[in-house]
Symmetry: C2
Subunit: 651 residues, 2 copies
């Protein structure tokens, strides 16, 4: 589709909301209600092609006849050209600068099963085989177990396997149920458990009759906030469905520290374990229900979570994670029978939890490294998980170093006056008219605004900073004249959305205190990059690639995150979003025994740095408390662009 | 001590009952009350030395002054010479024949820990080590687990170990309880579980402080009738205590077949498993109480039982063991966590059950083979377990063959009119006055007779047969004139004990029907030896050694068992009683990892024969239905002795 007068073309999927398409294209259209249709400001004129638009009481019949449409009520269904109405043209001209390809920058590389197959990495650790036994008779009365083992040898050339007790226990009945036709589930043991790898096969389940077509695995990202499960068909490698919901522990506190405190109270550990297990069980139940999959057909479950979540789930008290010198109980945990944790899975199903590196660099990061392949490739890569812990890893196939930046909760909306998680009604994207200083807001699900989430915060701070509304020190420009900038009860603030246009009936504002908190968070991250690089004798210029993990990354615009100094400045095509790296790693773990075998290697290869113990960290942290940074040389492109923007606005 | 007029010297332990000493010496003293002091017939005269005798109302003061004593009320405390009173002299003269050394024949060879040490076989699979960890601090905040593993490496040179989950779970607290001083329990994995051996060490338990002095193991013989437990100090190798009680399943039936039937009923399996677990728990509790041992200090439990008992204990339904073609579920079972079976042991304690060879040659036999060393030595050995199943093994270190002879319950008192188990009041030993045909009875615990047990049966049938009271075809000699031989309600019978002298107030008799049942049992055994030998191309003369297992063997006189054709005729010094081979094997399993490693080998080396499927068995069985055997050439010594005895009696 094509925007006039900006003369910008953007390719979008059919059905994309026109306001969102404009934001993707970097075209500003005033819109202060988040896309809920309320403010009526986002008028465009349909020049050619067709738009699927809802009727709007903000447009007269005459206006509609003339081609006026409300952008937030319109969807793109084919080639179309629209013109942004007059009041916004100024901005378009003012910002007539080269636009980066946002698509390229946001591309997530999710290795599909075809990719795994091409690399010879598709070898799920669980495989089902059908065997037919000859019934016992006089002269051939070996035990049922010996009979089954012999059949596997003669019918499938499988030798040297071990058999778990529960299989033996039900063998006599299962064998005779379908006239000695049995489906056996074989497990190829993974290596990232405590025990060194051995190639042996373990027979973990038997079923009467032919069940070879139904071999499923479950990958779970056990997040502090959300739990995502993905159901996988192990025989084809295809993900069948993904489903997530909030971690039920949230009712006891939003961050890991609170959870650890609660777990330390009498009965608290059981409570915390029970809640996360309950959450996973519900995710599992939902997936099975939606896909009509029998829970008993799930052979394996791989979990990835941070160190605290992993210990809480396994019932290992994480109290020493919170106390200096921050000791986890273990990095590696052996596989644990799922039912013993309370998970509603077969008694033969073992829970494989990704091992952690340190108290604040957990299995979710290890999973992300497996998913992104940092440890397999040549380029010097910075791996970032934008969250409370702000985990970062730097390295390549030869070495890796990691640290947790303790960014705090700002990226998840914490410590921000109207901060919230990225749920319905959260402002997630922002643009500003440089002349009128009117905002263009997009909310999650295009509902009336309720608050601002992490990506909204990055995009807003960057937008305000680029247009000179916010200064490098995080103060608002007191010289600007707009009713949106005012002295509020918590100091100076910018009004994102007026009370009447919100869901909450209050003005949604971004205060200078909010901006300070946010700058502290981004500064902690950047100081982390510099400290870690310095610790291994490198500088920020040596980085060749950046991998960004976190569901969070979805609406973060790279150039905006760079502009405020959250990400290091480099060519945008060197950035990769991998989305939920934790879930992706857990998925790969279910699909590839080769990759499973890499896990121990990855953990052992990483050197953890406690930033609080590296003397130079505090200096880097203080220097990073500016937009984009005190050391302007780190951001030459940003500085040039800011200068150009200011020139355009002022000129 | 010395017996007159027989001029027999016998060495006995201080405190031995004089009547029992006479029986051991082969000296007949009339005694029909089993040694309970009631009949007053067992008078002897003290010639020299001292006897500790209880006052007796069967002797006048004058008689006592003259040196008369009641043998059954007297105990030998030092060198002593006694004269058997006149009425018994005849017999002594009549039986003036070479007496075999009964001691030699009854010697049980129980390998002690010194023996194991001498052979380099003392290496218990569980060892405790004390480690001291340096507490975590800034700059050294590796996980608790890594810290412990490092300490084992640096302080004990122990590498490459795996750690079970329960240890990890309690590690943080246990480590800090005694200021980072920890006792770790290491397990060296056994090989007779399903998984192939690997030399790796497994860390299975941790305790705060120093617990290295208390490392215990439990060996259990899980018998159909009785359950024996032995508590072992694994650090010294010394058995601390042995205790047995009846298998509580007995209330549901005496033999394995009944138990299988009960287990097949709804809820029956759980009932049967619960009862045997309850029995073992009580044995365990008693041992711990008696030895003041904390149950938590028991590291391991090894069980040996027949195939049915093993499956019932593990909760694996044994129904197909009873149905042709008699299929066990498995020969090998993996180690199973003790608490999962209901055993009151630590959660880290694994149950190792001896593997079985076939449905009717179980883990108890395999344990006996390990204990007796049949599979390690050169001589061609016959291993016999005298019980209902009548398991036999023939072989040496190069090969082994086994079979179950289905002897039936006669050896345990089943199918015998006054048959009973070898408990208080059971007639267990017998001798007969060839002239008067009066018996000398010894009962268990020297109580008034209640019935006759297996060993009593063998000794009685042999005694009656030797003296011509019983003929080779199992009929009583109708020409003898004694009130003890009479026509009873079940046919001809011999009265062992008159009602007045019994506990039960009825004449205790041995009927011809009893004798027939008994001959069927002993014939089944002998036919088994011949069939098995024949199957491997050998004959009875090739046997070089016989090992007899079973608590049962305690009062069986070899020459009597040979005389009736239960045991093959050979030099008495070639027989070895090992007592409870099952318990002994279980004990060795706790003390020697080397011997543990032999178990798989033993099971795989044995070829099982189903006698019912070997055509020649029935012929051998029929031929064995005589005393000692239809083929007299198998028993030349017995035939010669019988001829001599008859000559003496008749001359």
């Amino acid at each position: 589709m094509h925007f006039l007068p900006d003369d910008v073309t953007v390719e979008v999927e059919a059905g994309t909301n026109l306001l969102q398409a404009a934001m993707m294209a970097g075209v500003h259209i005033n819109a202060s209600c988040g896309g809920s249709g309320l403010c009526g400001k986002c008028r465009v004129i349909l020049e050619s092609g067709v738009l699927e638009s809802e009727p709007s009481d903000r447009l007269s019949d005459e206006e509609t006849a003339k081609g006026y449409r409300q952008a937030c009520r319109s969807r793109v269904t084919g080639d179309v050209e629209v013109r942004v109405t007059v009041e916004s043209q100024l901005d378009a001209r003012a910002l007539n600068r080269p636009r980066p390809s946002r698509n390229a920058a946001r591309m997530a590389v999710e290795p599909g099963v075809e990719d795994l197959k091409a690399k010879g990495l598709f070898n799920p650790p669980f495989v089902k085989k059908l065997i037919r036994l000859s019934p016992p008779r006089r002269g051939d009365n070996i035990s049922d177990l010996s009979r089954m083992i012999n059949a596997l040898r003669t019918q499938h050339d499988i030798h040297n396997l071990s058999v778990i007790f529960s299989v033996i226990k039900k063998l006599p009945d299962v064998a005779r149920e379908e006239d000695f036709e049995i489906t056996v589930t074989l497990s190829y043991r993974p290596s990232f458990v405590i025990e060194p790898e051995n190639a042996r096969i373990r027979l973990v389940n038997i079923q009467a009759g032919d069940h070879t077509a139904t071999t499923y695995g479950l990958a779970v990202d056990v997040g502090t906030t959300t739990v995502f499960g993905q159901l996988l068909d192990l025989s084809t490698g295809q993900p069948l469905d993904t489903y997530g919901e909030f971690n039920r522990q949230i009712s006891y506190g939003e961050d890991v520290i609170t959870r650890i405190v609660v777990a330390g109270r009498p009965g608290g550990m059981e409570k915390m374990q029970g809640l996360i297990v309950e959450t996973i069980n519900h995710v599992l139940e939902t997936l099975c229900l939606r896909q009509k999959v029998d829970r008993e057909e799930i052979c394996m479950v791989t979990l990835a979570g941070n160190t605290t979540m992993t210990q809480l789930l396994l019932g290992v008290n994480p109290r020493y994670i919170r106390l200096a010198p921050y000791v986890p109980t273990a990095n590696f945990f052996p596989p644990i029978p799922a039912p013993s944790l309370g998970l509603n899975l077969g008694e033969h199903v073992l829970v494989h939890a990704f091992p952690s590196v340190a108290s604040y660099v957990g299995g979710d990061i290890v999973a992300g490294l497996i998913a992104s392949g940092v440890y397999r490739e040549e380029p010097l890569t910075l791996y970032i998980d934008l969250g409370t812990n702000g985990e970062i890893v730097i390295g390549n196939r030869d070495w890796m170093a990691c640290a947790a930046c303790s960014a705090g909760p700002a990226f998840e909306g914490g410590g921000i006056k109207f901060g919230m998680r990225a749920i319905e009604g959260a402002i997630e994207d922002f643009s500003i008219n440089p002349t009128t200083l009117e905002p263009m807001l997009l909310t999650v699900d295009l509902k009336k605004p309720k608050g601002i989430c992490g990506s909204g915060l990055i995009n807003t701070v960057a937008g305000l900073f680029e247009m000179g509304v916010l200064e490098a020190n995080g103060r608002y420009n007191r010289n600007l004249s707009t009713k949106r900038l005012r002295e509020g009860e918590d100091g100076y603030e910018y009004v994102l959305s007026w009370a009447a246009e919100t869901e909450i009936g209050r003005d949604i504002v971004l205060t200078e205190v909010d901006v300070d908190n946010f700058i502290r968070a981004k500064g902690a991250m950047y100081a982390g990059y510099l400290t870690l690089l310095e610790a291994v004798g490198l500088s920020i210029r040596d980085l060749e690639r950046v991998v960004i993990a976190g569901g969070f990354g979805r609406f973060v615009h790279l150039e905006k995150a760079i502009m405020i100094g959250l990400l290091p400045e480099m060519d945008l095509d060197r950035f990769t979003f991998i989305g939920n790296g934790s879930l992706l790693g857990a998925k790969l773990n279910c699909l590839s025994n080769n990759l499973r075998q890499d896990v121990t290697h990855v953990v052992n290869q990483i050197t953890n740095f406690e930033l609080s113990e590296v003397p130079s960290y505090m200096g880097h942290y203080v220097a990073a408390q500016f937009l984009p940074h005190t050391t302007r040389e780190y951001f030459p492109g940003v500085m040039a662009r800011l200068a150009e923007t200011r020139r355009l606005i002022e000129g």
